[in-house]
């Protein structure tokens, strides 16, 4: 076991992934206070269960972002902040004026480019589900499509994203930019 103190490891983990986590939470809940709550709950859930945190070379980002996303979606559904307007009309937090980390910006552009290359129906299903926090049943109703169609779109879209993005390789980049 590493001698590193766990608290400093948690701090390091936050310093590496906190920003991406906050951006994700904010995108889903669209409320700074709820976004902070989601990030905090996710990091503390990690803290309570993990024996040791290992910022370098692990898939810690996948783990953290999965927890953050789950919390954010729960928050959105719990608050019943169902937005009547479409996702397109409810803009994501503006890029303008955001002092964005260069590496995160590159990642974002890469993911958005992959999303743009998807058929519209697949992109819409992924965006509404992942960023909008809608369940598949809500999506089916909202899009006026059978549930089976929504499921196929999500599956095809995700499978295509995987092909386009390959192994995200995100962890490697962290060490060279932090």
């Amino acid at each position: 076991m590493a001698a590193r103190s766990e608290e400093s490891a948690l701090a390091e983990l936050y310093d590496r992934y906190g920003r991406a986590a906050y951006g994700l939470a904010l995108r889903v809940v669209r409320d700074p206070v709820l976004a902070e709550d989601a990030v905090q709950e996710a990091f503390l859930a990690l803290w309570r269960t993990a024996a040791r945190f290992v910022p370098e070379r692990s898939k810690a980002s996948t783990w953290i972002l999965t927890l953050v996303h789950r919390r954010a979606v729960d928050a959105v559904r719990h608050e019943q902040r169902r937005r009547a307007d479409t996702l397109e009309n409810a803009p994501e937090p503006s890029v303008a004026g955001v002092d964005e980390d260069a590496w995160l910006r590159l990642q974002r552009e890469r993911v958005q480019e992959a999303l743009r290359s998807l058929p519209d129906a697949q992109r819409e299903a992924l965006e509404l589900a992942y960023y909008g926090g809608f369940s598949q049943s809500e999506l089916a109703e909202r899009l006026g499509q059978p549930l089976g169609t929504v499921k196929s779109r999500m599956f095809a879209g995700l499978a295509r994203m995987r092909e386009l993005l390959g192994d995200p390789g995100t962890e490697v980049s962290w060490t060279s930019t932090s």
Binding site: G18, L44, R57, L104, Y131
Partner: protein, 200 residues
Amino acid sequence: MDIHELTAAYALDALEPDEAQAYEEHLGQCEECRAQLAELNEAATALAFGAVSPAPPPRLRESILAAAAAERTNVIPLRPRRWTTRVLAATAAAACVAVGFGISALTTGGGTQIVSAAVVVAPDHTATLNVSGLGAAPQGKTYEAWIIPSGGRPRAAGLFAGSSVKLNGRVPAHAVIAVTLERAGGVPASTNQPLVVAQT
């Protein structure tokens, strides 16, 4: 509805709670779904990086670290707190009253290990713990499982070499199962940090 078709929606957190629970139970029995979920989960997490990332307020960092420090003595979560996470190495029985999952990341001399634990509690409250990601215990050491009743003290629940153990003793509702590394032969009470913890 064919439960196999829920993998993408699960990876996107797009299932209703009852659907997600049914899928997690299915996941324990379906290797095909576990493999597919591992792939789709990577793609879903990549979407996280598609969001704009403004800097969080500095107080968030302070708040998280302060809360973590305050829980410092709570090495093991004693409160019943149900959260599940994606489990790629779970083994569930068809008839069980509870399934608990836990994942942790361990630092070792060789780098990082991701360890996952799944505990399946049968209707008679006997339980089997399956752990993946732990190597063989070092020379002179053994892994030891613990049953920690909600609000109670840890009870030694068996020694094992690295992957699976039928727990000694009954597992009450909301118990936590923990694994520690101990000297060969095991110990009746441990002060070591758990390697992985699963909440049932």
